[in-house]
Symmetry: C2
Subunit: 241 residues, 2 copies
Amino acid sequence: VVVGSELLSGKIEDLNTPYLARALRRAGVLLRKVAVVPDQADLIETALREAMALAEHVFTSGGIGPTHDDITVSCVARVLGRRITRHPEMERLLRALIGERITEVHLRMADLPEGAELLTAEGMIVPAIKAGPIYLLPGIPEIFREKVDQILPSLQGLPFFLAELELRIGEGSLAPHLEAVLAEHPEIEIGSYPDLGSSEHFQVKVTLEGSDAERVRAALEALIASLPPERILGRRDPSAR
Amino acid sequence: VVVGSELLSGKIEDLNTPYLARALRRAGVLLRKVAVVPDQADLIETALREAMALAEHVFTSGGIGPTHDDITVSCVARVLGRRITRHPEMERLLRALIGERITEVHLRMADLPEGAELLTAEGMIVPAIKAGPIYLLPGIPEIFREKVDQILPSLQGLPFFLAELELRIGEGSLAPHLEAVLAEHPEIEIGSYPDLGSSEHFQVKVTLEGSDAERVRAALEALIASLPPERILGRRDPSAR
């Protein structure tokens, strides 16, 4: 759940979603959906509820600073049915960080959903916050990335195996071949991506993915066998990523 | 509603959302939410239903080619409660485009929700498709952009006026000033974006936006007046964008 009106207005580009998507992929964790919502409580909460219903882990980006448009924490508390309380350890950390200049506004950042966990790691100035299944990450890309890198090793993922074929063929001609392979290998996910690149011939990249490398390979071989050899421009055998 | 498992797996970066966000902004149309969903009917349909409840216009990206993973059209038909029928004009266009090589697989692209409109324009090879409030756009970025550029002038938007201030201040110290301005100017949207750039002093960009340029200017002046002058690094007066 990516929170930020500035993303929807096109003022700022969302760098966090692509980073998290790739990091989850490497960790073998399936990303089921991304919602980008404005700094508006009803839309944030709807997105959080849907995310919790869909997935084991939920990540938020943005809206956790001290200004008026930072409402992610209160939205998370509401969808979890928890009160907001001042977290003593977070207060201690903020006081150590900010020193004598600290004000009540800074301390708002220690107001967290009851029972929130602080996830710290070597070199992390401010801990990541977890409440229920929700990881609350800051929107600033540099800090978002740092926290993603620290959290992801703790998630239990499964490896994905990915194979690819590059073909010189139109998607219309390719479709029946893909359907035939899928009928025999229903556990394999097959994607087909036309590339309107520089070549004058239409090219398509086909991806085959699954959790069992041998099954991915069998589907790849079946697809190759069904196509005229001159259509095949390149292949990449199954590898984990 | 951005459809594509390849985006969630981090294999491909979503170039279409930033493009559409900026184009809508220029056209004065408020983008309320973005959902990125996999090639999976239940998730696509949930996202479409929510989008239709939230907004006057809905845009989809991807999933409208002829292969097995192209299911956006059937999802749109279901959420609109319409049957899929072969669109005679679309069939004619496809036959003219593909010629004698055409197969039933190609012609699937003419199977559209009943009552779908074809939006054509000078230089467009394949028309954009509109069904109810939903614009069905292809996922291939080059074609997506072409169709966005052709559709957007027909939408009736309102201008937004945006002013900006660059400040050398921490967000914690800034927050009470923003809240005071918001209390006096509730119709103005204020955003606050810390920049962890090269400066050793913490910098924040504040944006003020609204549909009335004079009110945006008044809020900007009020904020400037409330801050010590040495905190202000730069200002940009309200302009339409």
